[in-house]
Symmetry: D3
Subunit: 285 residues, 6 copies
C-alpha cells in the first residue's frame, strides 16, 4: 500500500508564470511520454510480476517515485497559470489577462475545465489513454518498453528545457532529466542482470525456436522494387545479436498465392452481385 | 511510393475455421502489439528520418514488409470466419452457424460491421489508435520502441500459437514468429551500429549532461517506508550502463516544500469558500 | 511525494480462481467507476487545490489510499487468472486450461497482452481514459463528482459481490464496499462543511446571479407536446434547494426565431448549389 | 427546439428476453452504423446548414425521427435484459440468472455499469465517438456520408434480424429496416435534386478545376509490379461519371525524387549520430 | 418519440463574430461538461428508468430541453465563424480572413472538416465520448452524476461568459447559466424527494450493510507518513451523513501481507528467468 | 504483398517553410478525411473482399497508391517544419525559432513528440482512430463510404489549398485534388458497374424486402409540431430512387405505447425507492 507526505520530491519554482508553457508541460503529465504513463506502467508491471520478487520490488519502488513526478508537474502547471503572459498583444485582451492567455496559446481547457490547473491530458488536450500502460507479463519485453518510455520521456524533457527561459522551470527539468538518465540505465541494467542479449533474445525466450521457421529468423528481407539499393549495416551481415544465427539479406518474393475467400454466405447481406465468385476450391497455399 | 502484387508473402491456410480464433487474431492486426502499429511506426520513422539515409531506407524496407503481414492476418481472419464452430452447444443456434458463432465467443462486429471479415481493431473490438505510432525523431529512442513492439508482438504471436491446433494457422504463426525474431535483432543491431550503450546513452545524447542535476543521474531512489527492504541488483551498485557514473542506492526524501498555490483568481469561478488561502507569499522552494 | 511498503491494505484471497471473474474485476480497475479514476481524480484535485489547505490534504490522503485499491484489485485479477475454470465444456479445451479460459469468457487480452495479469482497462477491454478525471477547480462541483464516483463505484462493487461465490473475493469486496460507504459520506461532509445547500448553491456561487436570467432560474420547463402529463415532484413546486427561489412549472415555447446563417463563404468549398440563401439580413433574434 | 411525448414511434416487444441479443443491439445504438451517429449527424448538418433552408429543414426533420430510434433500441435492450437465457449451461449459474447471463455472452457492463439497461456504446462496449458525426459543410459530401450511414445501418439491421427468432424483435427490425430503405433513397434524392452526377461532381464543385492537375483527374493508376494484371471495369475506360473526362489506365511511376530532409536542428534532441546527413541542398523535386 | 419546430429555445445573436470564441464554445457542445453529454445522459437515464414513472418522465422532459441547447450552441458557433477577427496581426493573413482566423487561434477543423460550423468535439477538438453518459440504473447515483454535470457545466458557462464581450453571446449565456441553476436544484430536489441523506445513503441503499465490513465504513484513513498532520473537518468526527455511524480518524496500516503470485505458467511466454519464484505456497492473506 | 522504391509519387516542394501549415496538413494525414484512413479502408475492403476478384484487385491497386500519399504529406510536414515562421512577433521568441513556432500556432507535439516530423494524428493532435476504416462486407455500402471519404477529402484538400501561398504546396495539393477527383468517379463507376440505383438499392439488396414493413419504406415522416412547414423536394413526391416505390410525406405519430420496463431486479442494486413500479403487466406494444 501507499503513503504520502505533503512535500514535493524536488522544488518547483516558477519565476515568470507562462500559461503557454503550462500547456506544453501537459505533454509530460498526460502524454504518451509522460509521467502518468510511466507511473501506471511500472506499478502495473509490479502488480502483475511473477518470478523473483526483487524485480517486482524494484518496479514498485520506481513506480512510487513517479507519482511524485506527476505531482511536481501538476504543481508547475498550476503555478505557470497564475500569471498573465507578459506579451499580450491585444488591447481588448490586455484588460483581462485570462482572456489574453486563453486567446494566446494556452490550453483553453486548463481554464474552462480545470479553473487554472492541470488536466490528465497531453499538450493538445487529448486525454491520457490506458492502452499505453505496457505490462506484458514478459520481463524483458517490459524492460524495453520502459527504456522506450524513459528515452522518449527524456527527449521530451530536453525539448521542454529548450522552450523555457524560466530558471525555476529549468531547475525542475534538470532534475527530471537526471532521473530519466537513471531510469534508462536501470531498465537496461535489468537486461544485463538477466544475462544480456544472448540470454534474453529472442523475446520471449521460452518459445522453442525449433517451432519457428528458422530459415527466416535472421534474414533481412528486401522489399524494394528492382533498382532499389539495399540498405546495409550491422543488421545485414555478421552474427545476429543473440549469437544464434547469421544476418543475411534476401530479396522478398511472395511465397503464398492469391488469397481466395469463399463467396459471401447467405446471411451476411453482401450485395447480390457479390454472389458469384471466381474462386475454385479452398485456399491451399 | 509503393507497389503490390496479388499474392501473399507467406501462405495462409486454415484447415478448420474457428470464428473464435478469428477474434483472437484481431489483436495481431489492430492491437497495441499488432501489425498496423509496426507498419505505420516504421513508415512514419522513415518518412521523418533525418540523418544518414541508410537508416531511413532500412525502416522503409521493413515497414513495407509489414503491410503484407496485415494482409496475411486479415486473410486469416476471413478464412477462420468461413466455418461454423464444431462445438455448437445450443440447438437453436446449431441450425444457424452464424448465430452460434456470434453467441459463442466470436467478435460480433466481425459479422455485424464487417460481414465476416477483419476489422482495424484489437481482440476486444477496440479500434486501432494512432497514438501508438512512436516516431520520436531520435533514432535510438525509436529503436527501443521498435524492439518493444517486436518483443511484445512475438509474445503475442507465441500466445496465439498456443491457442490453436490448426496446422495452417500454426504454420503461418511460425513464419511471423521468425520474422519477429529477426526484427528484434535488427533494431538492436542499429544500437550496436550506433556504437552501443556507451555511445548512445543517455538518450538523447545531444543534451549537455552538465545541465542535468548529475548528482541524481545514477541514484536508485528508495521510496519504501521504514522497514521496507531495498531491492538489490545490477541497478543498485557498480558502473552505470553508459560508463559515465556509478549506481548508488539512496533513500528518497522530499527536497521540496509544500506546494503553495495562489488563491483562485476572481474569474475562475471557484467557490467563494475557496477565496481564503493559508498561503503566505509565493512558492519559493 | 509518495512512499510504499510491500504489503496490501487488506488481504486479497482467491479460493477458486475464475478467469471470467478476472474480466469483471477489470471494471473496478480501469472502468469509469473504477479505482484508477478515483485515484487520479482525488490526486489531481489535490494537486490543483486553491484555498484552505485542509481540503487539499484530505484529498491527497484519500487519493493515496486509492492507489492501494488499484493494487488490491490488480492482485485479485492475477490470482483469479491462475486457475482454469471448473466447468470447461469442451474436450479440446479441457486439455489446455488457458485455451478453455480464453474461449470461455475471460478477457483474451489478459492473456494475449498481459500474460495473465491485469490491464489498465475496463471489463470490455476499453482502456482507461483520462477525461474522466474530474478536477474543475470548483470545490463543490468536485465534491459532487466524487460522490458520483463513489456511488457508482459502490453500485459496481455490490454487483461484483453478487457475481462471485468465492469467499476470498467476497471478503475483499466487503472491505471495498465499506470504504465506498465512507467516501460517499466524506465528500458530502465537505458540502456540509462549506455550509450546505444554501451556502454552496448554485455552483459556482461566485457568479453574480443578477447576471443570469433569473426568470428562468427556478422554472421546470415542460417539453411534452400537448396531452403529455407534467411530471410533478419536489422539483415542480415549493422553495428551491438554495432557498433563493420558488420552483414553478412552465410550458416550453421557442423564445428565439429560426436560425439564419449566412451563405457559405467563397473559400469554404460548399457546393455551388448552396450559394443561394433564403436568408434576408443578419440574425436578430 | 425539441419536444417529446411519452410513447414510442413503433412498438417494441420482446417475447423471450435474451441478454446476449441485448449486447448485439448495442451496435445499433452506439456503433459506427448506429442511431446516435445518424441522429447527431443529421442534426449537426442541419445546425450548420448554409444555403437553401429546405435542405436544413429536411435534415432537422429526419434527425428528430432518429432520436426516437435511439429510444426504441434502448427500450429493446432493457427488455431483453429482463430475462435469463433459456439455455443456462452451468449449475452454479443457473441458480442466479444474472450470473448466467453475464458469464454467457452478454455485455457485462450492461449489468455492472448500467444496472440492466443500454449504454452509449457499441456491441463490444466501445463508447460512441463523436468523430463519426460527419457534417462537412458541403451538402453533396454530406449526402454521401448519409447514404453510407444508412447503407451500413441497414446491413447491420438485416444482420441483427438474422440473429434473432423473437417475433417482437423481428417486428421492430422490420420497421427500422424499412426506414433505412427510405433514408437511403432520401439522401440520393437530394443528389438528384441538386442535378445528379454532372451537376455535383467533382465534390466540391466550387473549386476551379483548372487549378487541379487535370492530366491526373481521370487516370486509374496501376500500382501492381510487373506481371500484375490490370483490374478492368467501368472505371478504367469510357467517359467519367461527371462527363468531364475519359477514364484511362496508366502505370504508376514515381514523378518525384527521393525525399531529402535537413539534418536534425540542434534543439530537436536527435542522437548525435544523426547529425551527419547525406543530403546536399534543398528539396527541389 | 420526438418532435421539433424550426425555432430556437432562446435567441442566439452574435454582434461581433469571433472565430476564436467559436472554438471555446465547442467545450459547451462536445466537452465533458457540455450539452451532448447532458442530453444523452438524461435521455439514457429515462430510456432505462425502472420504478416510478414520474422520474422517467422528468428525465425525458429535461433531456429533450437539452437537445435544443446543443442547437443553440451550434448556431452560436456558426455565427461566430462568419466574421474575420478584428485584430488580424499579420499582413499576409489580413488579405484572407479565413487564413487569419485559422492561424490566429480558431479550431482549424471548424474550417477544414466542417466548412465553418460546429463539431461534435470539445475546445481542443477531442471528439465527444459516449463513456461520459452516466446512467447507472441507480436513481440516486444518477442524480449526483447529474448535479456534477450541471455544476461543472455552469462553471464552464460562467467562464465562457468571462471570455466574451459580445452582448449577444452574454445574453445567450445568461440564459444557459440560469437553466444550469435550475437543473442543479432539480436533481438535488429528487434526492430530497427520495428522503434525503438518511433515506438514500449509502448508495445503493439496497445492499445489506451487514455484509460490508462496517468497522471501516465510517473511518477516515490517514495515509500520511509519520509527521504528516491529519486533515480535520466535518468528515473526521461527529455523526456520519447517513446518521448510521460516527466519523473517526484512523492511521492506515497494511492489514494484508505481500502479494504472492504463482510463477508464470508454461504457456504464458514469460522469460525463462522468471520461472523461479520465491513464493512458497498459495496466497493466504 | 507490397514493395516500394525510394522516390515520391509526385514532387513535394516547400519554398517557404511554415510550421503552422505543417499542423494543418496533419488533418490530411491522420484526420477523418485523411490518407491513413483511405489507405487502410481500401486495403481492408480488399483483404476481406468476397465475390468477383476484379473489385478486390481494384481496391488493392488504389489502396497501394494511397500509402504513397501518406508519404507525400508526411514529407510535406517535415519540410514545413524546417523553417521558422517569417512573422515572429515576440522578441524573446525571435531568438529561438523553435520557441516562436511552438508558441505561434504549430502543433507542439510535432516538436515535443516527433522532433519536427509528422504524427499519425489530425490537425488538433487527436490520434488516428481505426473505427473510421469502413469495410462492411457489402460492396455497394463500401463504395458510398469511399465516395464520402474522397468527397470530404477533396473538400479538405481544397481548403488547405486556400490556406497556403507556397507554390510547392499548391503544386502538391493540385495533384492530390486531381487524384480525389478520379477516386470519387471510380467508386461511383463501381455503382454503375453493378447496375446503378435500380440494381443496387436498397442496400443490402439481398434482404427480402417482403420482410420489411414496406408501408414505411418510401414515406418521408414529418416530425415538426403543428405549424411547422413540410420541407418539400425530390424526396417528398414522385418515384423512389430504386424505382420500387413512391415517395410520400406523412405526419409522424407514435404507433407504439409508453415503454414499460420491469422494476429493478433484486441483484441490480437500484435504490430501494425504485422498487415500486407503476407498470402493470408486460410490454405489449
Amino acid at each position: 500500500m501507499f503513503y504520502h507526505d505533503n512535500k514535493l520530491q524536488y522544488p518547483v519554482r516558477v519565476d515568470t508564470p507562462d500559461p503557454r508553457f503550462a500547456r506544453l508541460l501537459q505533454q509530460a503529465i498526460g502524454g504518451v511520454e509522460g509521467e502518468i504513463r510511466v507511473c501506471l506502467q511500472y506499478l502495473f508491471q509490479a502488480f502483475g510480476a511473477r518470478g523473483p520478487v526483487k524485480y517486482r520490488d524494484m518496479l514498485m519502488t520506481t513506480g512510487t517515485e513517479e507519482i511524485g513526478h506527476i505531482q511536481m508537474l501538476a504543481t508547475a502547471v498550476a503555478l505557470n497559470l497564475e500569471g498573465a503572459p507578459a506579451d499580450t498583444q491585444e488591447a481588448a485582451a490586455a484588460q483581462n489577462p485570462v482572456v489574453a492567455a486563453v486567446m494566446g496559446g494556452m490550453d483553453p481547457r486548463q481554464y474552462l475545465s480545470a479553473g487554472m490547473a492541470a488536466l490528465a491530458a497531453d499538450a493538445n488536450g487529448v486525454p491520457f489513454c490506458g492502452s499505453h500502460v505496457y505490462a506484458s507479463g514478459n520481463l524483458a519485453a517490459d524492460m524495453y518498453a520502459n527504456v522506450t518510455a524513459e528515452a522518449t520521456g527524456r527527449a521530451l524533457a530536453c525539448r521542454l528545457y529548450e522552450l523555457t527561459d524560466d530558471s525555476g522551470m529549468k531547475d525542475m527539468l534538470s532534475f527530471l532529466i537526471a532521473r530519466d538518465t537513471m531510469h534508462q540505465q536501470q531498465w537496461l541494467a535489468v537486461i544485463e542482470d538477466l544475462g544480456g542479449h544472448t540470454a534474453t533474445l529472442p523475446i520471449p525466450n521460452t518459445f522453442d525456436q525449433r517451432a519457428e521457421h528458422q530459415e527466416f529468423s535472421y534474414n533481412f528481407f528486401l522489399t524494394g522494387v528492382e533498382g532499389t539499393p539495399a540498405p546495409e549495416g550491422r543488421w545485414s551481415t555478421g552474427p545476429s545479436m543473440d549469437g544464434k544465427g547469421e544476418f543475411r539479406m534476401r530479396q522478398a518474393e511472395p511465397m503464398g498465392g492469391e488469397p481466395r475467400l469463399a463467396p459471401p454466405m447467405s446471411g451476411s447481406y453482401a450485395q447480390a452481385q457479390q454472389g458469384v465468385s471466381d474462386r475454385a476450391g479452398p485456399q491451399l497455399d
